[in-house]
């Protein structure tokens, strides 16, 4: 067996094989590949253990090593990260030849003690390399004949160097790297290669053999590279050090070229979210957002229709166990029974499904301060894994299998901790860790063709005609500072341990960069966007080295990618890229007036208006038409109500419960019962308020809401009012205007009824002036809806935070009325008039967008409601109307 070996040759490499047609029983390998081959030949292999499991095992060993260690304080605070860090230290020592012995330096001896305490630690790559080096001498079976090196032997890190020595001692022929095929003499690329090899420096001529492509953005860089590849043979090796060619691949695909298929591993792929979310919902105080996120995933863990319903309920009343929640579950059960009607045992089947579903919504079971029992961790992780395997349905989708294996790794790691309860922070760390490696996009694969991509410089191990360094930006591989102090290094050296110095690492890394240039046989393109992902990029370390070589270079060495956007033909690296000029068109523009050709009478005839829709109509007819008539609305994104809305909803519900029809309750007890209800309803319908970040508001509201209830009841007593009902849905008609609405609170004094609308607001000024100016549309609508006999009932706002009634004269709700410019029934009349004028206009097919200049022209005359000053301020349609568009 003949091997080619390089540090970067695990994973995607170029060329893939040493022989053109292919390698049989020979291979190009990196450290993992090499050690894997040796292990199988020497019978040393074993199962792969996930990194989190190793960390957990090491964590137990550190704990077993007892107190008084140098890591003690950090370990107390964050055992996971401490273990992870020290495991890394320990592995690096093994890499340097450490066999776990004490060396007479305190920190290292602490590590040695941990290594000897507790259950065995699964091996790292360093352990495996060390074992392989040890075993080749005396175990039979090795059938590697030769090893051709990609990098010079003296640059190898210690563990590799030792393995190479051991292999050589065992009779394996170790061959030095072969010389690359350099570019044609005299070419720019060759000049750079010569200079990098230590030769003299000649100014570059711009012959296109070496080009630095500079673009403003990564988007433009992708466009440029794709254009270049499309305008000649598309055969190049692309080095993509961030390991992700998604952006470039999309540009390539748009030109009919094959995808390179490097996909970054990310923990944020839709499917992976289920694991952290399932755990997030398990803590107390309950995180409504997490449950909502879980239910709105593209593939939620319960049936999608059911998840949608629960999500809707959650989004309106974020909490579980409240009335709305129970009602939704009842609905789910009913629907399931319907669906299962044909089954043998519909009830049983339904109960079974419901139980499965409930497991996902049994939230807030564990106190963060205490931690989660290991069994619960197993249950949740198991549930997630089962979900992934179920929806995978043996499709072998790597992503879903990734979820299942992450869940498995979590359980394995948790078990290795040997502890019955796992603290919240530790568990979160572990979840983060099992996801951290992420999963790449299984659908994003390399496609057959002549384009290749590699992730690391060392993976380009032989000369390629054309090399493109995609994302030629810093920082490059980091060189870590020395970890051990002088005394420790001496102790280590005495014990025969040689850790790689930072100088040696720098030399190795730097040589690796230069080798990429040496391995370009004809052309080398270096692509540097100034912005990548919105962040300014820094110079790559190789760019530092090239800087003096590129000084004074002729035109053609640097190419500004944006030129392509402005020039029909641009010469770039020996290819000429043509683009077609096109005439510009303007983006959509705002218009104050729109016309509809279709006959709208049917739609308009069937309408019933509410206070909200009328408010919108008087603000902007276009806004009303688009949203209320056409239903052009933003989707139901998972958005929880804002804090003040939640308090408002809470207060409404408390009022509804406190105030059944009839005489008001004695006011002395109101405060206490309101407080009790507040605490009861909070987790059921306003759970987000219990989250830590709302401490200030919650403290305030717990004071204010009961006080407001008390004030409200006191008002009822003082003014001799009885409750007719709360949250009353009403339909009605005022003249031609059909109306609908829900009245917060209806009260009566004798035969007279009045409506109260409860508001949770910071500012009373807005409501006072609405009443004063006679433009309180909402009150007007309720006035109309309150009575069925066509008589307008009085009413007002009750401002909960300010604990005051805002009502105009003529209402028996207050002795301190607001002076209004017109009586309530006048307001209602104006509402109806304006509505008639606007709808008439709509019937003629004319729509006026109030936020645009010139809209006044088409406004009907004699409207009662003045044109609003800032119609678009709270409108969702600014994008559609092209309001506030930024100039370029």
């Amino acid at each position: 067996m003949k091997l080619v070996f390089g540090l970067g040759a695990d994973g995607r490499i170029w060329p893939e094989t040493a022989e053109a047609a292919g390698d049989l029983d020979d291979a190009v390998v990196g450290p993992h590949g090499l050690v894997g081959l040796i292990e199988s030949q020497l019978g040393l292999g074993g199962p792969t253990i996930s990194h989190p499991s190793r960390v957990a095992a090491w964590l137990s060993k550190m704990r077993a090593a007892g107190s008084g260690r140098f890591w003690a304080q950090s370990f107390d605070k964050d055992p996971w990260s401490t273990a992870e860090t020290l495991l890394d230290w320990r592995d690096a020592l093994v890499d340097g030849g450490w066999t776990g012995q004490r060396v007479g330096a305190a920190r290292i001896d602490d590590l040695a003690d941990a290594g000897h305490a507790g259950a065995p630690l699964p091996p790292s790559l360093a352990d495996r390399l060390a074992l392989a080096a040890l075993s080749v001498a005396d175990r039979p079976g090795l059938r590697i004949a030769s090893l051709a090196l990609i990098e010079p032997r003296d640059l190898a890190p210690p563990a590799i160097a030792r393995l190479l020595d051991a292999l050589e001692a065992a009779g394996v022929e170790i061959n030095p790297p072969s010389a690359p095929t350099l570019a044609a003499a005299g070419s720019d690329l060759r000049r750079v290669q010569d200079a990098l090899a230590g030769g003299g420096r000649d100014a570059l001529t711009g012959d296109g053999s070496l080009v630095v492509i500079q673009s403003d953005t990564a988007v433009m860089a992708a466009e440029t590279v794709a254009d270049w590849l499309a305008s000649g043979p598309a055969d190049a090796v692309i080095l993509a050090p961030d390991g992700d060619t998604a952006l470039l691949d999309r540009a390539l695909k748009a030109r009919g070229l094959p995808a390179l298929g490097l996909s970054g591993a990310s923990p944020w792929r839709g499917a992976l979210q289920v694991l952290p979310l399932a755990f997030a919902t398990a803590w107390r105080p309950f995180d409504a957002r997490a449950l909502l996120d879980l239910m709105t995933l593209p593939r939620p863990p319960i049936s999608r229709w059911a998840a949608r319903r629960l999500a809707r309920t959650l989004a309106e009343h974020p909490g579980t166990g409240g009335a709305a929640w129970l009602e939704t579950w009842a609905g789910l059960e009913a629907r399931l029974l319907e669906l299962n009607a044909a089954e043998e045992d519909p009830e049983g089947k339904t109960d079974q499904t419901l139980a499965q579903w409930r497991a996902w919504t049994q939230v807030g079971l564990h106190d963060r301060a205490v931690g989660m029992p290991l069994d619960a961790v197993r249950e949740i992780a198991g549930r997630v894994a089962a979900w992934a395997i179920r929806i995978d349905a043996a499709g072998q989708d790597p992503l879903l299998l990734g979820v299942a294996s992450a869940a498995g790794a979590l359980v394995d790691a948790a078990t290795r901790l040997e502890s019955p309860v796992i603290p919240a922070l530790l568990l979160e760390r572990m979840i983060g860790q099992v996801l951290a490696d992420g999963v790449s996009n299984p659908a994003h694969i390399a496609e057959a063709g002549a384009l290749r991509a590699v992730r690391v410089p060392g993976a380009l191990w032989r000369s390629a005609p054309r090399v493109i360094w995609w994302g030629f930006a810093g920082p490059g591989e980091r060189v870590a500072p020395e970890r051990w102090d002088r005394a420790e290094r001496v102790a280590l050296a005495t014990a025969g341990v040689t850790v790689e110095t930072s100088a040696a690492a720098s030399a190795r890394v730097g040589a690796g960069y230069a080798r990429v240039v040496m391995n370009a046989a004809e052309q080398m393109l270096l692509v540097r966007p100034a912005l990548a992902g919105g962040e300014p990029t820094t110079a790559h370390p190789l760019a530092h080295q090239l800087r003096p070589l590129l000084q004074g270079a002729a035109d053609g060495v640097f190419f500004r990618a944006e030129r392509l956007l402005a020039e029909p033909v641009a010469d770039l690296a020996r290819r000429s890229i043509s683009r077609t000029p096109v005439a510009t068109v303007d983006p959509p523009a705002g218009a104050p007036r729109w016309t509809v050709a279709a006959d709208l009478s049917a739609v308009l005839d069937s309408r019933v208006e509410s206070a909200t829709s009328l408010d919108r109509l008087f603000n902007c007819q276009m806004g009303w038409f688009a949203q209320d008539v056409l239903g052009l609305r933003r989707g139901r994104h998972a958005q929880l109500p804002e804090t003040s809305q939640l308090f408002g909803a809470l207060a409404h519900e408390i009022a509804r419960r406190l105030l059944p029809a009839g005489p008001p309750p004695p006011w002395a007890e109101v405060r206490a019962s309101a407080l009790a209800l507040f605490d009861e309803l909070l987790p059921a319908m306003a759970a987000p308020l219990a989250r830590p970040e709302h401490a200030g508001e919650l403290a305030a509201a717990r004071e204010q809401v009961p006080a407001a209830m008390e004030a409200l009841v006191r008002l009822l007593h003082e003014r001799g009012l009885e409750v007719v009902g709360a949250e009353l849905s009403r339909e009605g008609r005022f003249g031609d205007l059909p109306l609908t609405g829900r009245i917060d609170l209806m009260v009566r004094r004798g035969a007279e009824v009045a409506v109260l609308d409860l508001k949770w607001t910071r500012s009373d000024r807005r409501y006072v002036s609405m009443v004063a100016d006679g433009v309180a549309v909402q009150l007007a609508v309720y006035h109309a809806l309150a009575r069925t006999d066509g008589v307008v009932a009085p009413g007002g706002y009750f401002l909960l935070r300010q604990r005051r009634v805002v009502a105009s004269a003529g209402s028996f709700l207050t002795g301190d009325p607001v002076e209004a410019v017109r009586p309530d029934d006048d307001t209602l009349r104006i509402v109806s008039q304006d509505w008639a004028a606007w709808t008439a206009l709509a019937r003629n097919g004319v729509l006026v967008a109030a936020g645009l200049q010139g809209s006044a022209t088409d406004r009907p005359d004699d409207l009662g409601f003045a044109a609003p000053a800032e119609p678009c301020r709270y409108c969702d349609l600014t994008g559609l109307c092209r309001i506030n568009v930024e100039a370029l």
Binding site: W71, D78, P529, P536, R634, G635, A695, L880
Partner: protein, 1051 residues
């Protein structure tokens, strides 16, 4: 203290070159890894390392250059952060050192400080109400005051100034004492003041006439509300007192009785300043805020320490802790020996403490900076301190080390700068000897126009901006009149990218950017509104529709965007159709592609989805057709960046990252548009943002700015003489709350605060800071410096005036072309600019586009793993019985059994010693935790396989676990072959399957794996050109070998 050098470098005087030269000299005498070079921005740090390494490579010192990769170059935070992570265990912290993103800071703080906030909420909410925090805000969109923000600000200041919880509590005492000393003294009887006010209110109410004058309307609203409040038994907020104190009416219209009642009311309310309750409220507020801050500080620090979270302040504070601890410092001293600090003047006290401690640790330090360019007082830099430190350090060097020759600006600009600033700087303790320009290296040859301009902007602010824009257009039209010189010394006509407009506020940035845009000039400016640009809106609408198919608004927007006619009403027609959904979709050419993407959301990350949407050929093509593609791509890049940041932020907040989540985050954040990098755009930015940059023509606007001292927000104060060697000594935080909300202007409190020693010091600092900022602006110009000033004498220039002296700067008189500065005059291009309605519309640059294929056909995968192969067309051609079944009854994990058996079959060799074979097999079984299979049985399986092989191919070479990689067609097949026999006529392949099934299922099982073997065979033939037609499935557990054949071979 070890060697310490301070280098004073005036603007554009080549300080980076100096540092690079120093570093090049240093690597000759010490290990390059031991060098620390730090500055304040990533860009500057990047330039430093690039130039230093390039210099070494250029000098042929490749080794040193390579090793410099291991040196510590970076921003102060990066360098401190690295030290902290190296010493995290010594510090007893979590070794994970995740840096908290700015977006997350406030959330993390509020979670950590939850208890502290809840504990003080009752008191502070109540007082905040009385201070009017909950009153409606003026409709400027400004955030209202919030005591929790103040608490956080105090916590931040405390950390930045090295104060712990006790230090915070002491600050409360100091704040109360200092506030108490502000006049007037409290009146003795508060109740009397209340009664007087209440009576006055009632009197006004009683005396109000039926028709109020316009003047009295607003005051009466306040009166009425206040009256009602008192009637409800509630007390009045202090802003209400302040507003009532300004109550007025129109005596003639409203009548004398009402007027006198109003006057009496104003007088009664005017007593608020000496109301004992106000004093009490203020003191309670201070106390509670600081108490809350002290508790929150402790909680916040603990929270972060446990989670391994750091912010920038923590990085510095903890690095300082390392430096101050003898044991840790000693270890660090082994690793670093030479320190360079660039832009030293921007240090905060904490950073200065770090630099001072470093200087004490290493062999030599060099601090390079320019005290004249210290402009970050507003974010915590203490200029007095850095200036003292700079002077102190300089006094230790042998001679003044000064870089005073400009490499940047023309003579005229240098001269003007000296004339403008020398006296003011001298008064600030920056003598001309070290701080005036000595001269310039620029030559005047080739210029035929003076370097200075004074353009007076007339009209309202927006008109001023338009006027300037028109003049910029005019200059560009006459570019040949405004020659500029490039780096190589050649002169060429002024072009768009040569011009920068510097503004004092972000509002001005937006205003001037808009005006320039409207005048047809591309502008490069960081400004708000990323999500309001058509191209980003288009992508976002598409994302919204992907995230939620019910978002019909998004679909309608898409329909608009994809129309060629900007005013087309096709979307409206579609939306009114019965099946609006499909009618709208018909107008959106990407509707189908987006629907496909919707099904991919499980596999993609939110950021990848944004990319996927953006890259749709029709989306790209549409955006390109709108012209100015480069600028639009900049914005799209910023959107990509936002999506990526969103994902990273999700890591530290522990939230999931989803597409709807991303869209919500975008809605909430209103992200900025990046400054365009396009070379052909006018740069518009703030003076602060311009630091470190230069342009051939620099236009200074916002010259009407006046210094402001902010006294009613938390601020760091120092007691007594400051000692730059101990920068954190004697510091405390002063906080005087403002109890009047937006009212209270001109109140006694305001006047008293301004007149206090603190007020005066703050004012001095503000004036000095504005002086330096102006210097930064002036020294950005290479060839032309233009003052674009309002018609009145620009207030900002007044900061240059000496006390009680005539104005230092005299603007050019009408019809004159001289700027007067002190006794000198300077020739300038003088113009008066007025807005011109007839500005030409902007024509976008015609785009050049590439042909894109809409839906590329899916290509075949490049890499093929045989294990994934499937298909039929095979049969079992031969069955060999190897022996009885192995006992595996105790095996639970079949996968592990398979792995272990594979390993044993690969490794075992019947020629070896029997005991050894058993021991090896046993070790493998144990490694795989396979308990149910005995080593004896496993070895037996190997023995009988080998026997069969030896019999079948007596001379065959057996290769186990043999890697293969070969080109088959345009694909690459790769994998490992379990067992391969090279024999005389070709190659045979054997695949082990640890299948335990019954006899009647063997064929089926083997055939299931046949395509896999077939593909291996193809690969073997391709790689070796050996015939490979003998394919076997070996089932060690059941003791059988089955030979497989393609159906075609049989016929």
């Amino acid at each position: 203290m070890a060697r310490l050098t301070a280098v004073t470098a005036s603007a554009g005087a080549g300080k980076t070159t100096r540092i690079v030269g120093d570093i090049a000299a240093e690597v000759a005498i010490r290990p390059p890894e031991e060098i620390v070079a730090t500055t304040f921005t990533i860009k500057a740090a990047d330039e430093l390392v690039e130039r230093a390494r390039a210099r070494l490579f250029g000098d042929g010192r490749t080794d040193a250059a390579a090793r410099l990769l291991g040196a510590r170059f970076g921003t102060v935070n990066a360098v401190c952060g690295q030290i902290v992570s190296e010493f995290a265990l010594d510090l007893g912290r979590s070794p994970s050192t995740a840096v908290i993103g700015a977006e997350n800071e406030s959330l993390i703080f509020s979670m950590a400080a939850d208890r502290a906030i809840a504990a003080h909420a009752a008191v502070l909410n109540d007082l905040a109400d009385r201070f009017g925090y909950n009153d409606p805000r003026p409709p400027t969109g400004a955030e209202g005051p919030d005591w929790r923000r103040t608490v956080r600000r105090i916590v931040d200041l405390a950390r930045a100034n090295g104060l712990d919880a006790d230090g915070v509590r002491v600050s409360a005492d100091r704040s109360i004492a200092s506030c108490r000393s502000l006049p007037p003294a409290a009146a003795s009887d508060g109740d009397a003041l209340d009664t007087a006010l209440s009576d006055a209110l009632s009197a006004v109410m009683a005396a109000r006439p039926s028709g109020l004058s316009a003047k009295a309307q607003r005051p009466m609203e306040v009166v009425r509300a206040a009256h009602q409040r008192l009637a409800r038994g509630e007390s009045l907020s202090w802003p209400t007192w302040a507003r009532l104190a300004k109550a007025e009416c129109a005596p003639t219209k409203d009548g004398p009785a009402f007027a006198s009642a109003m006057t009496a009311l104003a007088a009664a309310a005017g007593r608020h300043a000496d109301h004992p309750r106000l004093r009490g409220d203020i003191e309670t507020f201070i106390r509670a805020t600081f108490d809350c801050a002290a508790e929150a500080l402790t909680a916040y620090q603990d929270w972060k320490a446990q989670r391994g979270l750091l912010d920038f302040t923590d990085q510095e504070a903890l690095a300082l802790e390392v430096l101050r601890d003898p044991a840790m410092a000693a270890r660090l001293r082994e690793r670093i020996s030479r320190v360079f600090v660039d832009e030293f003047q921007d240090s905060s006290p904490l950073q200065l403490a770090v630099f001072t401690a470093l200087a004490g640790l290493v062999e030599e330090s060099t601090w390079v900076g320019d005290p004249k360019q210290a402009i970050y007082g507003f974010r915590g830099a203490d200029t007095d301190l850095t200036q003292a430190a700079f002077a102190g350090a300089a006094s230790q060097g042998e001679a003044a080390d000064v870089l005073a020759t400009s490499w940047r600006s023309r003579q005229g600009i240098i001269d003007l700068s000296n004339a403008l600033f020398t006296p003011a700087f001298d008064r600030m303790g920056l003598p001309a000897a070290n701080h005036a320009f000595a001269g310039t290296n620029r030559s005047e040859t080739g210029f035929d126009r003076a370097a200075l301009g004074w353009w007076t902007l007339t009209g309202k602010v927006d008109e001023q901006a338009q006027a300037l824009a028109a003049q910029v257009v005019a200059c560009l039209d006459d570019g040949g009149e405004w020659l500029v010189e490039d780096r190589s010394g050649e002169h060429h006509p002024l072009s768009i990218g040569d011009i920068a407009v510097l503004c004092r506020t972000n509002t001005d940035v937006a205003r001037y950017a808009r005006a320039l845009s409207q005048a047809g000039l591309p502008v490069a400016v960081e400004r708000g509104g990323l999500a309001r640009t058509p191209h980003v809106e288009l992508v976002l609408a598409a994302c919204r529709w992907v995230a939620d198919a019910s978002d019909r608004l998004a679909l309608a927007e898409l329909a608009r965007f994809f129309s060629d006619d900007p005013e087309s009403d096709a979307w409206l027609g579609a939306a009114t159709e019965a099946d609006a959904e499909s009618a709208l979709s018909d107008l959106v050419p990407v509707a189908e592609a987006l629907a496909v993407l919707r099904t991919d959301t499980l596999a993609l990350t939110p950021a990848e989805l944004v990319d996927a949407v953006t890259a749709l050929p029709e989306v790209m093509a549409r955006i390109e057709r709108w012209g100015d593609t480069a600028i639009r791509f900049d914005d799209l890049e910023a959107l990509r960046g936002f999506a990526r940041t969103y994902e990273t932020e999700c890591v530290s907040s522990g939230a999931p990252a989803t597409l709807p989540g991303l869209i919500l985050a975008l809605d909430g954040a209103d992200p900025k548009r990046p400054p365009s990098l396009a070379a052909d755009a006018v740069q518009v930015m703030t003076y602060h943002g311009a630091k470190g940059l230069e342009w051939p023509m620099t236009v200074l606007v916002g010259l009407g700015w006046e210094p402001k001292a902010r006294l009613f927000e938390p601020a760091a104060e120092v007691d007594g003489e400051m000692d730059w060697r101990d920068p954190l000594a004697n510091r405390w935080i002063r906080f005087w709350p403002w109890p009047y909300d937006s009212a209270g202007g001109g109140s006694a409190l305001e006047a008293a605060a301004a007149g206090s020693a603190f007020g005066q010091a703050a004012w001095r600092r503000a004036v000095q800071e504005d002086t330096r900022l102006l210097y930064v602006g002036v020294t950005r110009a290479r060839d032309y410096l233009i003052f674009a000033a309002p018609p009145k004498r620009p207030a900002w220039l007044a900061v240059l005036d000496a006390a009680d002296a005539p104005p230092h700067v005299t603007p050019p008189a009408v019809e004159d072309n001289l700027i007067g500065v002190g006794d000198a005059t300077f020739l300038a291009d003088v113009r008066v600019l007025a807005a011109d309605e007839s500005a030409a519309p902007r024509y976008p640059q015609a785009p050049h586009v590439t042909a894109r294929v809409a839906a590329a056909p899916p290509a075949s995968p490049l890499f093929v793993k045989p294990s994934g192969a499937s298909g039929g067309g095979w049969r079992v051609a031969e069955r060999v019985d190897l022996g009885p079944r192995l006992g595996i009854d105790g095996v639970t994990d079949m996968a592990a059994l398979g792995e272990a058996l594979h390993a044993i079959l690969a490794y075992d060799d019947p020629t070896r010693d029997g005991a050894r074979r058993l021991a090896d097999a046993d070790a493998i079984l144990r490694r795989w935790s396979v308990a149910g299979l005995s080593a004896t049985d496993a070895v037996e399986a190997s023995t009988r396989l080998r026997a069969w092989l030896a019999e079948r191919w007596p001379d065959g070479a057996i290769l186990s676990e043999s890697p293969i990689r070969a080109r088959v067609g345009d694909q690459i097949v790769q994998g490992r072959i379990d067992l391969l026999v090279r024999h005389a006529s070709g190659v045979a392949l054997v695949d082990h399957k640890s299948f335990p099934g019954a006899f009647d299922r063997w064929d089926e099982h083997a055939l299931g794996h046949a395509p896999q073997l077939g593909l291996y065979a193809d690969a073997v033939t391709a790689a070796s050109s050996d015939a490979c037609d003998a394919l076997f499935i070996h089932m060690p557990v059941v003791g059988a070998i089955l030979r497989l054949e393609r159906d075609s071979e049989a016929t």
